[in-house]
């Protein structure tokens, strides 16, 4: 049987910062794992020789807030590890990520209450966010995972455009159970599909062991992780505000 293809997907859209940061991220993966296959999903206007030189594939996307989800759904690899562009790899364990599936179809890092001081919104009357979409390990050989990724993108587009929201029995939007403040997060569409969409209830969705090291926010307290950090997330980098 053929070995599954494995690779990393990074999406950089909207501003040059994300493109420059994505190139840096890809090179940081290659620093530790020179054979790594990396696909960069970006806008044509940003692409330069550096991007061409370090990638396995380039996929062009639109200037859209959620190009990330579109790009995730377009992964050319069987086993895919998506990583937010504003991160950097710091440890050789990045090469081991594809061995961590266990029996899951998709894996994320978590949003546990003990780290809630870093999260803008966690609980709401209808539930609680548990999955962080900053990194995602998924198996595209499973058609249900492919559908999930496409639906996550489609639903998020509708959510951002104020065309979709959970409804009450009378058909009106249920803003008591699901406050509209949640509409700004793609985590909400993720939460909805994982927890409420019947089609996906058979998907096995897990949280990576020692998940903090796979998506280390610089505001996290040291106590949340004792192992070397694999991916550092510069989510509040002032550089985002600068011109590149």
């Amino acid at each position: 049987m053929d070995q599954p293809t494995k690779g990393y997907v990074i999406v950089a859209s909207r501003t040059k910062f994300f493109y420059v940061s994505a190139c840096n991220l890809i090179e940081s993966i290659l620093d530790f794992y020179p054979e790594a296959k990396c696909t960069l999903v970006t806008e044509e206007r940003f692409l330069d020789d550096r991007g061409k030189r370090i990638t396995d594939q380039i996929i062009f996307c639109d200037d859209h807030k959620r190009a990330k989800l579109w790009g995730m759904a377009k992964s050319p690899y069987d086993l895919t590890f998506y990583i937010d562009a504003d991160t950097e790899v710091e440890h050789e364990d990045i090469a081991t990520i594809f061995d961590l599936f266990e029996d899951n179809d998709m894996m994320f890092t978590g949003l546990p209450e003990e780290r809630s001081y870093c999260y803008a919104e966690l609980k709401f009357p209808g539930g609680q966010f548990e999955l962080c979409g900053a990194v995602c390990l998924y198996d595209m050989r499973n058609p249900l995972v492919r559908d999930f990724m496409q639906d996550w993108y489609d639903l998020t587009v509708e959510q951002y455009a104020n065309r979709w929201w959970p409804t009450k029995e009378d058909g009106t939007w249920d803003e008591d159970t699901y406050p509209r403040s949640l509409a700004r997060w793609d985590q909400f569409s993720l939460w909805w599909l994982v927890n409420k969409e019947p089609k996906y209830q058979s998907l096995k969705v897990g949280i990576l062991d020692d998940d903090a090291r796979w998506n280390w926010f610089s505001k996290y307290k040291f106590k949340h992780n004792e192992k070397p950090i694999v991916i550092r997330h510069y989510s509040s980098a002032a550089a985002k505000q600068q011109d590149f």
Partner: protein
Amino acid sequence: MNKHDYLDNAFWEDGIDDRSQVKCIRVTTLPDGKRRNDVMLFHKMLPNGTECQHYKEVVSKLGIEKIDNNTKERRERKDRDHQEKRAQHEQQKQAAELEHLFGLKLRAFEVEEIKNSSDRELRTRLRRAKNDVEMNAIATLIMGKELGVFNGSTD
């Protein structure tokens, strides 16, 4: 006269280990039934050389052992809080420095000579630089190499 009582968390005043000053919270029941809390510091001896009756009242009510224990627990808690605050401050400082350094590195990689350099080892070193000085030094090395400074071919 209003009735009063003392909470059982009284402790010996910081920095004084002779039990000569006790700090406590006095709870006074007012005529309208409401309660008022006052933080009180009682000295064992008054300036006129007589014993303070309030001090005696607190010590006899709670006992020396209880106040000793409260003092020990409070000092341990304060030490823990202090250490945690220091660690948090250090971490925030370190995080801010890393965020700053990250931005600088991204900018360095946008300098044409560095962007197009094929020296992987130096590129990696630049990415892993731990501070501004190290980053600038490595960026300079890459620039020098790309511009031919090290083999005298700049002219």
